[in-house]
Amino acid sequence: MVNPLFQVPGIVSGRALGLIFDVVLMLLVVYYMGGGKNIKIRRVPGLDAIEEAVGRAAEMGKPVVASFGIAGSGFDYWTMAGLAILAHVAKLSAKTGTRLIVPTGGSDQSLIVRPVAEEIVRNAYLIEGRPEAFSDNDLPFLSGQQYAYTGGYIGILQRMRPASVIMTGSHASEAMNIAETSNMIGAITITAGSYVSNTASLACASDYILIGEEAPAAGAYLSQDPTQRASIRAQDIYKAISIIMIIGGLIILAAGSDVVIRLLVS
């Protein structure tokens, strides 16, 4: 066991540095959001493709299928990120008059998330002035069982032949079955790799993929709101700090000092 480099009285042992980093990140987010600066961020192909996917569906007169994952842990951040993307897709669908189908289910917790998803889609149609186009039958609850949900989802894809499939949120191993089926029926497939283990396979099966923090950042990116985009800037700064620490740590460790390891366990 490595001895911590420092300890702060009153702080739980081994969590002082974590607290400092968390506070720094929060301050960065507050600073950039409060500044009202117009920040330009790089284009994320996967997110830009969402508009293209919905537009394609509108042109072809086919539906869009979008899902927010199986929500195995309820409202975890992947599910929330998926819901933020769903809100955007629903608005685009309402605007272009495209039918949006949102297969839900996959876990017991998804029963809790489903009503929120329904509210999100309903609101999107309301905001776009087309409440009559919303139908709660387009958000079918398929099953609380992961693979029964997968079978139902694949069945919808095979029968409805959507022009686009946007699969974000907390999808697990079933993501491959869905993405590959989507590919087979010729739909534009946009996915978000929520697990390291399935990201590579999803990248092969999808036309576009959101990797890593691109999915949680999607809401901010898609909103075009300067304050929201500022959060991405804060994220990038923090990542730069992490990279510097990794490289610096490697050099220092190679030089024979364990100071960085001791700092990290502080």
């Binding site: 990140l25 929060m26 009503p115 491959m176 959060s231």
Partner: protein, 213 residues
Amino acid sequence: MSEILKSRTLQMVVLVLSFLFVFVPYFIDVKVLTDFSTQLITIAAIISAFTLVLAVYSQFRRGYTFVHRRSRGWIFKAYMMTSIVLMLIFAVYSQTSGPYNWVMYAIITPLSSVNYSILVFYMASTGARAFRARNGRALLLLITGFIVLFYQAPFTGAFFPQLTPYSLYITSTLVSAAGRMFLISVTVGAIVFGMRVLMGKETSILGAAKEEK
């Protein structure tokens, strides 16, 4: 009363307070706060269980409307509702023996396993499409893929032991490094996302779009 409970401000206040009551005791060593945080988490778990009951009830009501209107596919909803009721009765009777146990272990588990095993065909078809050396990067992927595949598969692994160090280097160094970078970026993304929610910039997850405010 319902208007107050539905108020966006109240929802935000509950969100921020819940965050503080769990976040602060995680770092600050104050026994009262830690005890309160533990109790809050227990309360949240109980509320979550009640929410699940409400959610099942909501599904049941939707199903009933569906069946009542004889909408397309109503028979499946009727089947679902019957299954829910029967499984509830069976579960009350016994979860470790009898019909509930039989349905879970003789029907649901094998069917799920069959569905899960189908994944291998999807993986193979994706792999077949990805494994085409159309450019330099694809060739690199192809070579890497084959090295790892040959090492992992027992038959080829036994015939080509000289691939072992390369495969181990790829999986333990390159893959591991990329995986950790993925985890770091996702964690930072999650924290920033949480901050946006707490600052009221991400209201869509509360069931309302920003324009509604």
